[in-house]
């Protein structure tokens, strides 16, 4: 009986995870714009801003500036997890050129199209590639990237341990993870915690 209940609990957890993933994807598909100039002005310098086309600024949704702290070097391969409109991929491409490349992954097709257009507009389209893929199952081989960056994305997953295991798998030995995210140190009210919008944000 205990094993049976455990099985049911496992299925419930799986359904809950699937619900959260679907709610997050729906929320991202529903928005008509990113956070835009207000957030870019807070997180990026004037010099960084000058490298960005308007589309990348419009679709900014990050909570930090991981590229600034990633110590990227020319020739490196960088994975941008949850690349969105491509803002951090574009900045990273400027560090790893010449010879390097940036691979962005995202689950939202519209975001992938925006990122490709924005990278091209920024003049780094040749060194950026944007792939459809989940952060829980990254479509790259093991030990294939020098650095991973991510901005406000890992926290969206209901399977964070799985995501971190994937980031570890794709990094080469000695590779670096640099990410920005929101952390919550104390409990939020149930009305907030159970909101799909809170998960998406």
């Amino acid at each position: 009986m205990i094993r049976g209940l455990g099985h049911i609990a496992g299925e419930t957890d799986l359904l809950h995870q699937q619900h959260i993933k679907a709610a997050v994807a729906d929320a991202y598909q529903a928005i008509g714009t990113g956070a835009g100039e207000a957030v870019v002005a807070r997180l990026y310098s004037e010099d960084e801003r000058r490298l960005l086309p308007e589309g990348a600024v419009t679709w900014a949704l990050g909570v930090g500036n991981p590229v600034r702290r990633a110590e990227l070097r020319p020739g490196e391969t960088v994975l941008d997890v949850g690349s969105g409109g491509g803002i951090d991929s574009i900045l990273a491409a400027n560090f790893v050129s010449p010879g390097g490349r940036v691979i962005g992954i995202d689950v939202i097709e519209e975001m992938l199209a925006r990122a490709r257009a924005n990278a091209a507009a920024a003049g780094v389209g040749d060194s950026c590639e944007f792939l459809h893929g989940e952060m829980e199952a990254i479509p790259l081989p093991a030990d294939s990237v020098d650095a991973v960056i991510s901005n406000g994305v890992i926290n969206l997953s209901p399977r964070k341990s799985r995501v971190l295991a994937e980031l570890y798998r794709v990094l080469r030995p000695g590779g670096r993870l640099t990410m920005a995210d929101l952390l919550v140190e104390s409990e939020l009210p149930l009305e907030v915690k159970t909101s799909d919008a809170a998960w998406a944000g």
């Binding site: 949704l61 930090g64 991981p66 702290r69 971190l164 030995p173 993870l177 952390l183 909101s195």
Partner: protein
């Protein structure tokens, strides 16, 4: 998720040299800039959270970690 919990998950995944820095407080005013936080959710937060908690909902951090080198 709290910082200590995230640090533990990183270590469990195999990462080393885990560091957190650039802590920046996020309150309702900051998250309102993001369209993913719906007006309804913002209103629920204003109704259910104390004024001080509304100013300190979450902390944005930069996290760095490394996969150990071979040998």
């Amino acid at each position: 998720m709290a910082e200590r919990v995230f640090a533990r998950k990183l270590s469990k995944a195999g990462f080393v040299a885990v560091e957190f820095f650039g802590h920046t407080g996020y309150g309702i005013d900051e998250i309102s800039d993001y369209p993913l936080f719906t007006p309804n959710l913002i209103e629920v937060m204003r109704q259910t959270l104390s004024p001080s908690r509304q100013r300190h909902l979450a902390v944005a951090v930069i996290v760095r970690a490394r996969k150990p080198a071979l040998g």
